[in-house]
């Protein structure tokens, strides 16, 4: 096969000494960037981009993409340990990862997260290696109605399953939608709900909200409950990696489904964040232990991490073949390609073989190197929880503040983060779920845009969502998922009535 030959050539390019060094530097920087909330992969890559202009383009993209892999790995660390998602796509990881850490199973959760990240990435790289041209063509089929269908599917796979009363879920979600609507409306170019405040022009950034709601909210709760981390009993045990690995193979169905969801969302390009939510929602729906999700299920860590990493990796495919970025980081890398004098697009794979296959080979090597690096550090990360709360809590608050500031280099964001922190605390005390709010905040804007674009295209007719087989089947799937609890309930009743016929 031609691809194998090309890939081998790519390995020869990537496996030179200086490229290996760049790879390691990239991974380490990336993990650090991922750990610091706010300083996302996109910012990290953007800051380092100008430094690479003097480098060979292949070395440059190897280093920068390794920062990206590193950030994908690193995002999970603070999510699990402190309930602070380092990156938007690790929000779903907190749902079960943090409870695991509280039960003293931080090492287990970290190992599961890192390993699933690796599996997801590997799956996506294999897809890029062998199916690139085919997948690129598929991505072209996605217009506004198809995007909306995907976003609808994400919502539907997530809602309707929480243990909280539906009214509270809906209230939280509506608040999320309202927050998402603040700022500039891209469809009409007018400002909404800014009340003349220039500070509100940029709207509520998802990351700022998440850092406050999750990170600070959690600190407030912990302070109330006795100034100590619950995960303190975590033992430092290197063997935890092996023990966790022994558990993972039985989750292969979840893993495979998450890989598929992730690749699909990365290519289309829905992005890593919706992918992680969708995958978590689906895992909860289809798992035997679905009702135990949120209490520290390892499956609840595997599903979002696999999908996020698969999406993050496959997002590079539309960037290389079509010139559309599948993620914010990919957007910055895209700028880099042009500056290095490479033209992303359908011809890149033909004209710049060395570059493309060097990059693909570095995806394999970078992810293996990344996995080894983060796995060896698992016991140390888990040991952070043993540091007394009085020392670590101020550090976390400072990191949160820096994180919120870095998102837009804006002091007002720090104030907003504090506000969101109080809100997160109140939500927890009043038992309102945070996840629907976050989901609405991150997807509301995107879903609204693609819905209104579709309406413009169709002249206001809803039939556009069933106009072709692709969009029709996604929408149908979404509606089925939404009604699943009802269908399940009716099925149960039907079965019950069959098994226990009424007495005459």
């Amino acid at each position: 096969m031609e691809e194998i030959g090309n890939l081998m050539h790519g390995f020869a390019v990537a496996l030179t000494w200086h490229n290996l060094v760049f790879m390691l530097v990239g991974i380490l920087l990336g993990v650090l960037i991922g750990v610091l909330p706010g300083l996302g992969g996109a910012n990290g890559v953007a800051i380092l981009l100008p430094l690479t202009f003097t480098m060979h383009p292949t070395s440059a993209i190897i280093m920068l993409s390794c920062i990206y892999w590193g950030a994908l790995f690193g995002g999970a660390i603070t999510s699990i340990l402190f309930n602070i998602p380092g990156e938007p796509w690790s929000v779903a990881t907190t749902f079960d990862g943090y409870p695991m850490a509280q039960q003293g199973r931080a090492g287990e959760a970290l190992t599961a997260a890192f390993t699933s990240s690796f599996v997801g990435a590997l799956f996506a790289v294999l897809m890029i290696t062998f199916l690139a041209p085919l997948v690129a063509k598929f991505a072209l089929k996605f217009g506004p109605p198809e995007y909306f269908a995907i976003q609808l599917l994400t919502f539907c796979s997530f809602v309707g399953m929480g243990r909280e009363p539906p009214a509270k879920t809906i209230a939280a979600m509506m608040l999320g939608f309202a927050l998402a609507a603040v700022g500039l409306d891209t469809m009409t170019g007018t400002l909404r709900m800014t009340f003349g405040q220039t500070q509100l022009l940029q709207g509520f950034d998802f990351l700022v909200a998440v850092i406050g709601l999750f990170g600070l909210g959690e600190i407030f709760l912990t302070m109330e409950e006795g100034l100590a981390f619950k995960g303190k009993s975590a033992k430092i045990d290197p063997a935890v990696v092996l023990r966790t690995w022994a558990q993972l193979p039985r989750l292969w169905v979840t893993s495979l489904r998450s890989c598929l969801v992730g690749c699909w969302m990365g290519v289309t390009p829905g992005g890593a964040t919706p992918a992680s939510f969708m995958s978590y929602g689906m895992a909860r729906r289809f798992s035997k232990d679905g009702d135990k999700f949120g209490e520290g299920q390892i499956e609840g860590v595997v599903a979002p991490e696999t999908a996020a990493h698969a999406a993050g990796t496959s997002a590079l495919l539309p960037m290389l073949t079509l010139g559309i970025p599948g993620s914010p980081t990919a957007a910055v890398l895209l700028g880099g390609l042009m500056i290095w004098g490479l033209q992303p697009g359908p011809l890149l794979f033909v004209e710049q073989k060395e570059f493309v296959w060097g990059l693909i080979a570095s995806m394999y090597l970078g992810n293996i190197a990344g996995l080894l690096i983060v796995l060896t550090t698992v016991p140390w990360w888990a040991a952070i929880l043993r540091i007394p709360f009085a020392i670590i809590a101020p550090v976390i608050v400072v990191i949160c503040a820096i994180g919120a500031y870095t998102v837009h280099n804006n002091m007002f964001d720090v104030v907003m983060m504090l506000g969101f922190g109080v809100m997160g605390y109140l939500f927890k005390k009043l038992r309102y779920p945070l996840a629907p709010l976050i989901l609405a905040l991150v997807l509301g804007d995107m879903a609204e845009t693609s819905f209104r674009q579709s309406m413009l295209l169709s002249g206001g007719s809803m039939s556009i969502f069933f106009a072709n087989a692709l969009v029709g089947s996604i929408v149908t799937l979404a509606i089925l998922l939404l009604c699943w609890p009802l269908i399940g309930y009716l099925l149960d009743r039907w079965r019950a009535s069959q098994g226990r016929p009424k007495r005459a």
């Binding site: 953007a46 202009f53 072209l140 170019g189 400002l191 022009l201 940029q202 010139g323 697009g345 295209l457």
Partner: protein, 336 residues
């Protein structure tokens, strides 16, 4: 208030003009005293961001300045966040901003209290071109054919995709509608790259993408350029496809579509800086433009490589603001 601002800017323009005659060899004595903040009033990855980061890299690579440049994105409210930030940094000589057309469109469309006269104009680096694109599989081989089709179709039948709302792409679309005499449906997307891909996927009928956003799809045979919205064809004779170069794309005017539009890629500084400080940056950008890397960058992006400073630049910006105001007023895009 407004009049005062105009007077002040005219005075500034006068000073700039006076300075333009003095020889440039006597380099300005002032130099940045700390890292220079380069504000981009748009998100990461877009055209302005790319140019800013490219300049940042060029300056570092060629040692053009002792202090480093730090690129900061302030994209909130269609760039209003960035402009307001620079406006409020009165007298700060270590801050510059790169502009898009949102220098004019954002305050007009949103009513955010800001005008370019609140800033100190430094230089025009280049002008970004706009090209009318259709899918290569569409039956329209020339501008005339496409315009006839739009005219003959029902109102809103043809779909034009573009970046953002009430910004440059939609302004061109409105001007085009006026010239043809029939409405199109304008669909806003978040970025130019996405628009080009939507056109390749035939979800829209045409776009007015910048050259760099669509060139890859042109080369692969998926898109077809019809005309360029400039007064003269783009001066780049290198063949992009087997048969065509940028130069071969006719102007829209020559095809009976009397619409001209270019986007400013210019540099501004906060208000209240000295002429000496402005001159430092003018000199810096002259050095940037002299590098072979810049030449390649503008050629790849088929930019209109016009450089302007001082009075010429102020005049150009004043005229461009008037054009935007007229076009947006006619389209009903002005905020009340």
């Amino acid at each position: 208030m407004d009049r005062q601002l105009i007077c002040r800017s005219l005075a500034a323009a006068g000073v700039a003009a006076a300075f333009a005659v003095t020889p440039f060899a006597a380099s300005a004595a002032w130099e940045p005293t700390k890292p220079v903040e380069f504000v981009v009033p748009a998100g990461t990855g877009g055209g302005a961001d790319q140019m800013a980061r490219f300049i940042q890299g060029l300056v570092a690579k060629n040692n053009l300045m002792k202090q480093p440049i730090i690129v900061v994105n302030k994209s909130g409210g269609a760039g209003a966040e960035g402009f307001l930030d620079v406006k409020s940094s009165k007298g700060d000589p270590n801050k510059i901003i790169i502009t898009l057309s949102n220098l004019f469109t954002t305050p007009l469309a949103t009513g955010v209290p800001f005008n370019w006269k609140d800033l100190t104009p430094v230089a025009m680096l280049a002008l970004d071109e706009f090209v009318l694109w259709v899918n290569a599989e569409s039956p329209y081989k020339t501008t005339t054919e496409y315009m006839t089709a739009i005219k003959g179709g029902s109102a809103g039948q043809f779909k034009m995709g573009g970046t953002g709302s009430k910004q440059e792409d939609q302004i061109i679309t409105v001007a085009l509608e006026k010239s043809v005499g029939n409405k199109m449906t304008y669909i806003p997307f978040k970025g130019g790259g996405a628009v080009a891909v939507q056109l390749v996927g035939k979800h829209i009928d045409s776009s007015v993408n910048n050259p760099i956003e669509a060139v890859a799809h042109w080369r692969s045979g998926a898109l077809r350029p019809l005309c360029v919205f400039d007064s003269a064809p783009m001066p780049y004779p290198t063949k992009i496809t087997a048969t065509q170069s940028w130069q071969d794309i006719p102007t829209c005017k020559s095809q009976g579509l009397a619409v001209e539009y270019q986007m400013l890629r210019g540099i501004f500084m906060p208000p209240g800086v000295t002429q000496e400080q402005v001159d430092f940056y003018i000199d810096l950008f002259k050095k940037v433009r002299a590098t072979p890397d810049w030449k390649k960058f503008t050629e790849d992006g088929a930019f209109n490589n016009t450089f302007m400073v001082g009075k010429d630049f102020v005049e150009w910006v004043t005229k461009a603001e008037g054009t935007h105001k007229t076009l947006m007023q006619e389209a009903g895009f002005i905020a009340k």
